[in-house]
Amino acid sequence: MEANSAGYWKATLGLLTKIMIIWFLVSYGAGILFQPVLDTIKIGGYPLGFWFAQQGSIYIFIALIFYYAKKMGEIDRKFDVHED
């Protein structure tokens, strides 16, 4: 049981790390730090960095939370700690 709960927590943290990296890249990365570079690319009338800052990052945030909820459900079942 002890090993099991350690495995569960490790899997959870692994998922969190993966998602937080994407979360950081789309907002702080594309939206702020690399905005001047990305703005040289145009997408549908938007400078790309500006688009990430005012639109894109928000859509990706939503996708990230639903992806997290789904994956955590799978991890819960795999380690048999899900709710009934």
Binding site: L16, D39, I65
Partner: protein, 601 residues
């Protein structure tokens, strides 16, 4: 039917709806009062969270702020949405598993100390009360501008409506009125935006219209807007930075972790039946929020373009902005300008005596723009525009029917009321549950606690109303301060409580207090001790924004870093938390065994 009557009818109908819900959703137990009985569907909770979250500031002021700040305004968009990713993955499911009524109760139990819970109550009250002041003044502003009543009458009316459903319904009444308020406010926000986007770009989705091409030309909206504002001496719209890129970065971090640490948002996730529901519910909440937050930047750019287009005819034709005949003749201004001039939100002063309106940046650092203005004989900017106009005058600018204007009024009021109610619940729960039940009178009966909860709610409404009527002169800065406090005190304590088994009470308390202290110190240095004018001590810290150019509004993230660092050091030199606390943390981490939320200690 004239506009005033129609507005009264629409707003009156929305109030009737909220009171109807209040009568249906009375709270009969502490569980219903604190967490709506714990049986709220995740989508319903998502919608209620969205209304809880989107305040008068989001609805009325945010688009105007973005219009003024351009690209820099993105920090509000990312900051106030990205926090939900943190909330969904780091806090909400674990606090739901913990299964108690309030945030301070988690801190008290996890750090095995009533003092820790009391420190958390103090932080919570400071964050929530400063936040609610902003909402009450927002209620007054919404009423007075839309309904033509005085600010005071507006606040009394708002207090009466919130009283009706928050005191009798508690979280249960608040949840279901918030759902109704969400529908009213999102319709009120998106309908004018859709029509404005259609007018300007021919695109029915404002989110796409913002990147679209202006109707009848092959120039994009953003390109044209950049040309105009630069020509008139303002900063380029799509690249202007708020101070520095570093400040924008840190400000965004502060808003994100402040969002995740605000108690009135966290407690919404105690109302869903299961841990997995809490995870999905955060996704739904962000989706409902995003409908407004992805529309707002479009409203900002389009309203800014429309305003320039109205006062300068060369904006649409592509002619010379500085030609004498391009500036709008004051006497020929559209009716909506005359209407908003009466409120003082729009002011014109004919500095060069030509009877025309010149709207430009007369303090520009752009030598080219300054020279052009001088050559044209302009003697200074003549139009003062309050940023709130960008949302409130939208339906009129887009020539929409009167019922849309009335709907926007109802939406503004709904946004202010829903957030105020959520905050008032967080405040009254902290008083009745964490102070009265936990510290002062632990043997209080369930019925007694419910009564105490309702009385605390009455007290909180009166306090909020009083502060709204006599704003302490810092109403404008309150929302930023609330985020700073939540980010620097509550967020790190909760997070470490879940993610570290070894963090002890000494570390957590020292962390919360030092994070709070550092943040308040930096803010007060700029704005005065408790915002009292004349008590600023900014020279003492080496001048304004002396800490790497970080503005006081953005300082919450630095406060949080201090909190983490102090907690870590103090934790290392004091003794480990007891065995049973480490087991508690383990059980919080797994979903199995989640029970209905209750208040037992």
């Amino acid at each position: 039917m004239d506009l005033q009557t129609l507005t009264y009818l629409v707003v009156g109908a929305s109030f009737a709806l909220y009171i109807g819900i209040a009568i249906w959703a009375r709270a009969g137990s502490t569980s219903e009062f604190y967490v709506a009985g714990g049986g709220v569907h995740p989508i319903t909770n998502g919608m209620a969270t969205a209304a809880d979250w989107m305040s008068a500031a989001s609805f009325i002021s945010m688009a105007g702020l973005i219009a003024n700040m351009g690209y820099g305004g993105s920090l509000f968009l990312m900051g106030w949405t990205g926090g939900y990713v943190i909330l969904a993955m780091w806090l909400a499911p674990y606090l739901r598993k913990f299964g108690k009524f309030t945030v301070p109760q988690f801190i008290g139990d996890r750090y095995y100390s009533k003092s820790a819970s009391t420190v958390a109550v103090v932080c919570l009250l400071m964050a929530s009360i400063t936040y609610v002041i902003g909402q009450m003044t927002g209620v007054g502003v919404a009423f007075s501008r839309f309904l033509g009543v005085s600010n005071e009458t507006g606040i009394y009316l708002g207090m009466a409506i919130v009283f009706a459903y928050a005191v009798f319904g508690g979280m249960k009444g608040i949840t279901y009125t918030q759902v109704a308020q969400y529908i009213v406010l999102i319709a009120a926000y998106t309908i004018p935006a859709i029509f404005i986007s259609l007018n300007l770009t021919g695109n029915v989705f404002p989110q796409l219209g913002l990147g679209g091409t202006l109707v009848g030309t092959d120039t994009t909206l953003l390109e044209r807007l950049n040309q105009i504002v630069v020509d008139l001496g303002f900063a380029e719209y799509t690249t202007s930075l708020p101070g520095s890129r570093l400040n924008m970065f840190v400000y965004t971090v502060s808003l994100m972790i402040g969002t995740a640490g605000l108690p009135h948002v966290i407690i919404r996730f105690f109302t869903v039946p299961k841990v997995s529901d809490a995870r999905y519910s955060a996704g739904w909440a962000l989706m409902f929020i995003a409908i407004l937050y992805t529309t707002a930047p479009a409203v900002a750019a389009m309203a800014k373009y429309n305003l320039h287009q109205t006062v300068n005819t060369a904006v649409a034709t592509g002619g010379d902005l500085h030609a004498p005949e391009s500036s709008l003749v004051y006497e020929e201004r559209p009716a909506w300008m005359a209407r908003w001039e009466k409120t003082g939100l729009l002011k014109w002063e004919d500095k060069n005596g030509d009877g025309r309106i010149q709207y430009y940046n007369d303090a520009t650092k752009n030598a080219d723009a300054a020279a052009k203005a001088e050559q044209a004989g302009w003697k200074g900017n003549e139009l003062t525009v309050n940023a709130d106009i960008m949302v409130m005058a939208n339906p009129e600018i887009a020539l929409l029917p009167n019922w849309v204007i009335a709907l926007v009024a109802a939406g503004g009021v709904a946004a202010a009321l829903s957030t105020a109610a959520g905050l008032l619940l967080a405040i009254s729960a902290a008083v009745s549950h964490d102070l009265i039940k936990n510290v002062i009178k632990p043997d209080i009966s369930e019925k007694g606690e419910l009564m105490a909860g309702k009385l605390s709610m009455v007290g909180a409404i009166i306090l909020a109303g009083y502060l709204g009527l006599n704003p302490p002169g810092f109403a404008a800065g309150t929302v930023a301060l609330a985020f700073g406090i939540a980010a620097s005190s509550l967020f790190p304590a909760i997070m470490m409580g879940i993610f570290s088994k070894k963090m002890n009470k000494e570390g957590a308390m020292a962390g919360m207090l030092s994070g709070l202290f550092v943040t308040l110190f930096y803010v007060f240095a700029h704005k005065g001790i408790f915002f009292i004018k004349g008590t600023e001590f900014v020279d003492l810290i080496g001048g304004p924004n002396s800490f790497f150019g970080i503005t006081p509004e953005a300082f919450g993230a630095i406060g949080a870093l201090v909190n983490f660092a102090v907690a870590y050091v103090v934790d290392k030199v004091t003794k480990e938390p007891p065995e049973h606390i480490q087991h508690l943390v383990e059980s919080v981490r797994i979903p199995r065994g989640a029970k209905a939320v209750d208040g037992a200690h």
